[in-house]
């Protein structure tokens, strides 16, 4: 009697293992494909399927078969094709995986097609979405994707002199006399704050400045308080802020309160926290050619180029924008991560979407760039 339970467990485990082997074999066909929308079929007899095959191969990193689905008329080679999809130079793309995609034909003729694809990337900074239009042509009885020439930044060999400027911290020893070697935290100040309701919930946003002469690691917290004086919710700016502020630098911040309406809120308690941190004044990233335009989907988007003016590679750049109305009031804060690395003395385009409800009121904007470089704090 006492052996019945162990024996039945062993039998059940063995049965599940055998079952798992068979089911696993079938599941391999759809690994990494969102909503099962793209299953590889050997012969792509329509444009949409051809593109799905290509993207499924990109997901599996089956580069040879993916390149076979690319038209010979494409101005790309294997190396730059792989680099385009897997990233390089420690960029955000090189830490990301194509999680899924959705395609929608824009225009199809018997020999040519234009398909818009919404690519879903899993990245260390959260899910990111990328919309791209692909052109496909019929070659014989198969459809193939025509890829434009991929512009890989080519940085010439050069020497860039940099006046080195950074702040280091020296901590006092435990044996120091009490009060003899204190260093105050940096002095930061919230210079504007605005609370609005959005589709996702309440949003508190504004700008903060480091008024001190030393760098500060900054965080902004907000607490929503109801009419009875009780706290409804307490949130932080998380990554919607440039955390390391150099002296006199201004950063936008945004704090989201999902599923909370401002009509239940009587007041907002703001709390800025600043800590002294070691920091470097380099690299300097210029934000060039900023303009608000409509994208292919008709959305208002702030476009521009990030120009790395220093001599070191910036692996991941984070663009944070505050948008102002005609009274210079901050009416929205948006951000976006650049998935390509910024090589020295080179540019990369960026785009930040503006919500439909905000876009008509935008009169001005201020862009700041936070950056992360491998091997540096």
């Amino acid at each position: 009697m006492k052996f019945i339970l162990p024996i039945s467990l062993v039998v059940a485990t063995a049965a599940l293992m055998v079952l798992g082997l068979f089911i696993g074999g079938q599941a391999r066909g759809t690994v990494g494909i969102a909503a099962g929308s793209a299953v590889y079929t050997p012969k792509a007899d329509n444009a949409e399927q051809a593109l799905k095959n290509l993207l499924a191969d990109v997901q599996r990193r089956n580069w040879d078969r993916a390149l076979a689905a690319v038209s010979k008329s494409s101005a790309t080679d294997k190396e730059s094709f792989i680099q385009e999809w897997t990233g390089s130079n420690g960029s955000l793309r090189s830490f990301s995986a194509l999680e899924g995609f959705e395609s929608r034909p824009l225009h199809i003729t018997p020999d040519e097609a234009q398909i818009r694809v919404r690519l879903h990337w899993a990245t260390p900074v959260g899910p990111l979405e990328d919309v791209r239009d692909f052109r496909l042509i019929r070659e014989g009885d198969v459809w193939k994707t025509v890829l434009p020439k991929i512009q890989v930044p080519n940085v010439p060999a050069q020497v860039i002199p940099v006046t080195y400027l950074r702040w280091d911290l020296v901590s006092g020893g435990a044996a120091d006399e009490w009060g003899s070697r204190n260093v105050d935290a940096p002095h930061v100040r919230i210079i504007s704050m605005n609370a609005v309701d959005s589709a996702e919930g309440a949003v508190v946003m504004g700008e903060i400045v480091n008024e001190d002469t030393v760098p500060a690691f900054v965080n902004v917290n907000a607490t929503l308080v109801d009419s009875a004086g009780s706290a409804i919710d307490d949130e932080t700016s998380f990554d919607k802020i440039n955390h390391v502020l150099l002296p006199k630098q201004v950063s936008p911040y945004r704090i989201d309160f999902p599923n909370i309406s401002l009509k239940n809120v009587k007041s907002v308690r703001m709390d800025e926290k600043a800590t002294l941190v070691p920091a470097s004044a380099d690299p300097v990233i210029g934000v060039m050619n900023q303009k608000i335009e409509s994208d292919v989907q008709g959305k208002s988007v702030l476009h521009g180029d990030l120009f790395n003016q220093s001599g070191q590679t910036v692996n991941i750049s984070h663009v944070i924008v505050s948008f102002y109305d005609n009274n210079a009031k901050v009416i929205w804060v948006a951000d976006g991560y650049e998935d390509h690395a910024l090589l020295p003395q080179s540019s990369e385009p960026f785009a930040v979407e503006i919500p439909k409800s905000v876009a008509p009121k935008v009169q001005n904007f201020h862009v700041v760039v936070d950056q992360y470089s491998l091997g540096r704090s």
Partner: protein, 287 residues
């Protein structure tokens, strides 16, 4: 623990019929910390002696009619002490141990960095302690002196109140180290406050067209008192032309902030640092 003993001792003392005193205790009203004390007793025979005070509780056998000797090391901590002698009956007395003369002091100065020309911006407080780390509550005079470079800025003598002496004053006009010294008799403590430049003042830029756009730079950046604004301070250059805007957050290096901006058309360049705006510069289109 000390409080429990104290309460027990007081209860015990209250329970003792003081009317039938065969012994008498004459305790001093006040004792200086660390001093030896003798307590004369009357009567005869053996008794039990209790000493209860901050950080000390002791029980010993004593002979009535002889002096009870308390060692200075039993009386290091300032505060109220209770002595109790019990034979057939109990008798008690209390005395207060005051701090000895100042042997050291804690000196706190705030802030560690201060912009120049700010009123009531620098403050300091001194707490004198005796050699046993008791706060000296007896008023003593502390002298505060502030010097920037070799120039005296502020000097004040302050009597302590409840064990603390403090000052508050404005920051100086020049950036640099502000030395703050507090002295008490032959004791002194030195602290330093970094006086830093205030917000930039009269922020002015010059610029020129270069093959890849425009190169703009500030004149040496000073505050309104003429102090050089520290390197690393961010200056934001904004260039607006017909088809867009470009911005660069550039740090001041060697007194000057510099940026190159991609702009081909007629461009208006403005400058700001924190919440301070500078002049506007108009640069013609690329020929």
């Amino acid at each position: 623990m000390h409080r429990v003993l104290l309460i027990c001792a007081v209860l015990c003392s209250a329970a003792c019929p003081l009317a039938a005193v065969a012994q008498d205790l004459r305790v001093p009203a006040s004792v200086t910390a660390g001093d030896d004390v003798t307590i004369p007793t009357t009567g005869s025979g053996k008794a039990t002696f209790y000493l209860v005070g901050p950080g000390v509780s002791r029980k010993s056998e004593v002979s009535l009619g002889e002096e009870i000797r308390l060692q200075g090391q039993e009386l290091w901590n300032a505060g109220d002490y209770l002595v109790l002698v019990c034979s057939d009956i109990c008798n008690s007395g209390t005395f207060y141990v005051t701090a000895a003369k100042p042997a050291s002091f804690a000196f706190l100065v705030h802030p560690s960095r201060v912009p120049v020309g700010q009123s009531d911006a620098v403050s300091g407080v001194a707490f004198p302690f005796d050699q046993f780390r008791n706060l000296v509550l007896t008023p003593v005079t502390v002298s505060f002196q502030l010097t920037a470079g070799n120039k005296p800025l502020f000097s004040k003598q302050v009597r302590t109140e409840n064990g603390a002496a403090w000052f508050r004053t404005a920051s100086g006009k020049s950036a640099g180290l502000l030395q703050v010294v507090a002295s008490l008799d032959d004791l002194s403590a030195k602290r330093a406050v970094q006086q830093v430049a205030s917000d930039p003042c009269n922020l002015r830029i010059t610029g020129q067209r270069i093959p890849i756009g425009v190169l703009v730079q500030t004149e040496p950046v000073h505050d309104c008192a003429g102090n050089v604004v520290p390197d690393g301070t961010i200056v934001t250059f904004s260039a607006t032309e017909a088809n867009g805007k470009s911005t660069v957050d550039a740090p001041i290096k060697q007194g000057i902030a510099r940026a190159q901006i991609e702009a081909t058309g007629a461009t208006v360049v403005s400058v700001a640092s924190g919440v301070v705006m500078g002049n506007e510069l108009r640069i013609g289109a690329k020929p």
